[in-house]
Amino acid sequence: MDLITSIDQISIGDEAFSLERTITLEEAKEYVEFLGMQRPNQFINSEVAANQGYSGPISPARMMVTEVCGLLGRWIPNSRLTKLEVIYRRTVPHNNPYRVSAVVTDVRPEEGTSLVDLDFRIASLTGEALITGTVILYLPLPQRNARGQP
């Protein structure tokens, strides 16, 4: 994942990141505890998950989206998220690897700043969409002039 230091490094179609990830039961427990969620629940308890129609405890979808936000922040360290839209399509059991990726769909340079639109996708390793969404990042990065100066 290349770090972005100039808006000129970003073009439509660029892949911000693409990597595999797996959420374990231990990680889900820590997340649930952080949220202060009632226990037991479908994220950490097999019986509750089964009662809700799941094959087993499921990974918290918001946790997965939070990681996407973190990855975007690492891609452009001084960017700020202005809008995030997410659709939750399918649940993900624990210890099931998935792929998370993001692609630039628009670059909107403005004086002294820029906006970058991305589509992100969390999919099973067979390509089934689990979570999809869009992000708009605000970048306080100046465009460079013909001499390469900000």
Binding site: R21, E27, R62, E67, T82, L84
Partner: protein, 176 residues
């Protein structure tokens, strides 16, 4: 079949929220002509005041940085005034007091269908965030496994200066 209602839900209780020609839905399947009582639409519900504490942000940063269990995390130094990622707003406990709007509907679970987060101004450690949630819509949809009921909630977050710093729109899906 009524669920235990929060005081807020009891205060808003009027006619049954799910009506199908007056028929009792307990244990039964929903049919066409489902009628929703939309008296709660437009009403607001307080989500409390939440101070952004450094230790909460530290814990949140772990999930943002997807670094795994606590013992592998190199803790950053956080200070009052440090800017916090807007996704932190989505981790405030503002929705636990929201009423059950589909009382009597025998749903197996209630889950977010998605969400939209708008960051309207930066938030910082030390800020006090006030949240107000409003039910903006209720509707039904046919799915593969039966009828789904949607309740769309919108939460607005303001800081201690009354400035609107964020907004989250959350459709909750109730499925049989």
């Amino acid at each position: 079949m009524l669920r235990n209602l929060s005081p807020i839900a009891l205060a808003c209780q009027g006619p049954p929220h799910i009506m199908v020609g007056g028929s009792d839905l307990t244990g039964g399947s929903l049919r066409e002509g489902l009628e929703l009582n939309k008296s709660l639409v437009g009403k607001t519900f307080p989500g409390g005041s939440h101070r952004i504490e450094p230790d909460r942000v530290l814990k949140f940063r772990r999930f943002l940085d997807c670094v795994g269990p606590t013992n592998t995390y190199e803790k950053p130094i956080l200070a009052e005034g440090d800017q916090v990622h807007p996704m932190f707003l989505n981790h405030l406990s503002v929705r636990q007091g929201l009423p059950e709007v589909f009382v009597g509907f025998p749903h197996r679970h209630r889950t977010p269908g998605g969400e939209t987060l708008e960051s309207l101004a930066p938030i910082h450690i030390g800020d006090t965030i006030n949240a107000i949630s409003r039910l903006v819509d209720m509707y039904t949809k046919k799915g593969r496994s039966g009828t789904m009921l949607f309740a769309v909630w919108e939460t607005e977050f303001t800081n201690q200066h009354g400035k609107l710093v964020g907004r989250v729109r959350l459709p909750l899906v109730h499925t049989q």
